[in-house]
């Protein structure tokens, strides 16, 4: 089960950037900007087969 936390990191220019830290639950982690994380979790089934699969 994934566990997501958000972390503010002060950057060189003094701004604060928020990161999503995704704990995959198996010792693996993914870190990305919060905005990227939110974009990746949007519903996104975009491609549906439009032709029968049988026959070349």
């Amino acid at each position: 089960m994934e566990n997501v936390t958000f972390l503010d990191v002060t950057q060189m220019d003094g701004t604060t950037k928020t990161f999503a830290i995704i704990d995959r639950g198996n010792g693996e982690f993914t870190s990305m900007p919060k905005a990227d994380y939110e974009a990746s979790t949007l519903p996104s089934e975009l491609s549906t087969p439009t032709t029968p699969q049988a026959g070349a």
Binding site: S31, D36, S47, P49
Partner: protein
């Protein structure tokens, strides 16, 4: 007199003889001879005799009309003038020049003792063997590098078996399913393919959601194909329990005209157009399939991919394998080739989009770190092996530690994030730890946490 006969036209070769006995004073031979034969000859192929002596053309006579001969010297009564002429004929088994009709046409065999015309190809095209063509050869587009990266699934930096609903799986390939379970894994191939990618529904899964696997190309790689005829080819096979109706697999090529780099699995293209949506019927053997289409003139981006619609409950082998995916210019699939001729070259090409360091040793080091004015944060620099497409924004990692010489491991890492000082060649990371970093000259390092499975990856994917 018959000399020979052409096999197709059947035209006989005959020699006509016209013989005339002079009354005296004639300088023109024409009309009907004493045997009711009208004078007719092929200009340049005639022979004119007087009393059995062959006359010299243009000196002793002029023959330009095909129906009359003008003599230089008049005949004497009793002279016998003879005009011999062969009709136009074809040599046996010769190929008529009318077989070709335009500049650049070629005469090719289309069977035993049979030839036909192969029209000239487009500028820059090459002639290739093609057993499915009636002539055995076809014009193909210029041979270029295969623009599909990791097309034979040699590179799996993220792991060789990935169960996911939406993520990059094999390098450059995005796997997707909205419901149910699916695993993308590297499998042994056959023939010239060392590996294939398996897209498998988990045994017992009853969800029938479509399973997708796509590769989206960068604009710089896709744009050269605008307006071009392309052939998408691939090898595929089905598992023994493959559940798609009629063992079908859908192959697609979708194009766009946008200017923003896009992973088509997550975001539709501007001007999104499904150029190819074709079904093939799989067998349990690895078979090559190919589909041809012509890109729109304004295409700037495209993706290719495979989709399957499972049915019923999944058996133990409800999967399809695919490998050898290739894009060729023209309407012929050329022999398969990777983007790079070497595995290292293919890896480097993939690392433009994603790069994972997996030292494989317990304390494998990634880079030097520095005290960051806080006991709970250090900054670490990691150089990329390959220049990235863009500055990476996503990092994945496992089993890492920050170690300061003389102190030891500095607590547990709670976060790794990438800073704005990063470039396409170097990552500048902030590593957040519990505490313990000190502002001393003791070196600080980012390394594996006494674990050979530790890794650190950077994504610059579409």
């Amino acid at each position: 007199m018959t000399v020979n006969r052409h096999p197709s036209t059947g035209s006989a070769v005959t020699v006509k003889q016209w013989r005339y006995t002079a009354t005296g004073g004639e300088t023109t031979l024409t009309g009907t001879d004493g045997f009711s034969q009208s004078l007719a000859y092929t200009v340049g192929a005639e022979e004119v005799y007087v009393n059995g002596v062959l006359l010299e053309r243009a000196v002793d006579y002029t023959a330009t009309t095909g129906t009359s001969v003008v003599l230089t010297n008049a005949l004497v009564a009793g002279d016998i003038a003879t005009v011999m002429s062969a009709n136009a004929f074809n040599v046996a088994n010769a190929i008529p020049n009318s077989t070709v009709t335009a500049k650049g046409d070629l005469i090719v065999g289309n069977g035993a003792a049979s030839v036909t015309n192969l029209g000239v190809g487009a500028d820059g095209s090459t002639l290739v063997a093609n057993s499915s063509a009636s002539t055995g050869v076809s014009w193909a587009g210029a041979k270029t590098q295969n623009v599909i990266l990791n097309s034979s699934f040699d590179i799996w930096q993220r792991g060789t078996s990935i169960a996911t609903a939406s993520a990059y799986v094999a390098d450059r390939w995005y796997g997707y399913r909205t419901g149910g379970n699916v695993t993308f894994s590297q499998q042994t191939g056959s023939n010239q393919f060392r590996y294939a990618c398996r897209v498998q529904r988990t045994a017992g899964d009853t969800a029938t959601n479509t399973m997708y696997m796509y590769q989206s190309l960068e604009i710089a790689d896709a744009t050269p194909y605008a307006g071009q005829t392309v052939t998408l080819s691939f090898y595929a096979r089905a598992g023994a329990n493959y559940s798609a109706t009629s063992n079908g697999l859908t192959v697609k090529l979708v194009t766009g005209t946008g200017t923003t780099e896009t992973n088509r699995m997550l975001v539709l293209y501007t001007g999104d157009t499904t150029l190819i949506s074709s079904g093939v019927t799989l067998t349990t053997s690895l078979v090559r399939y190919q589909v041809t289409a012509t890109m729109g003139a304004s295409v700037t981006q495209f993706c290719i991919g495979f989709e399957t619609n499972p049915t019923g409950a999944a058996g133990a082998a409800d999967y399809f394998d695919v490998t050898g995916v290739q894009i060729d210019l023209g309407s012929v699939a050329l022999p398969y080739r990777r983007y790079s001729s070497t595995l290292q070259g293919e890896l480097n090409a993939c690392e433009r989009y994603y790069e994972r360091s997996t030292p494989g040793v317990a304390y494998g080091k990634y880079g030097q770190a520095y005290y960051n004015n806080s006991s709970s944060q250090v900054v670490c620099n990691v150089e990329f092996k390959t220049t990235k497409r863009v500055i990476p924004t996503s990092i994945d990692y496992a089993n890492l530690r920050i170690q300061q010489n003389g102190i030891g491991a500095l607590g547990t890492i709670s976060a790794v994030s990438i800073n704005i000082e990063s470039t396409t060649k170097l990552a500048d990371l902030t590593v957040t730890i519990g505490s313990g970093a000190t502002n001393t000259l003791n070196p600080i390092e980012l390394m594996n946490d006494n674990n050979t499975a530790g890794y650190l990856g950077f994504s610059a994917e579409l």
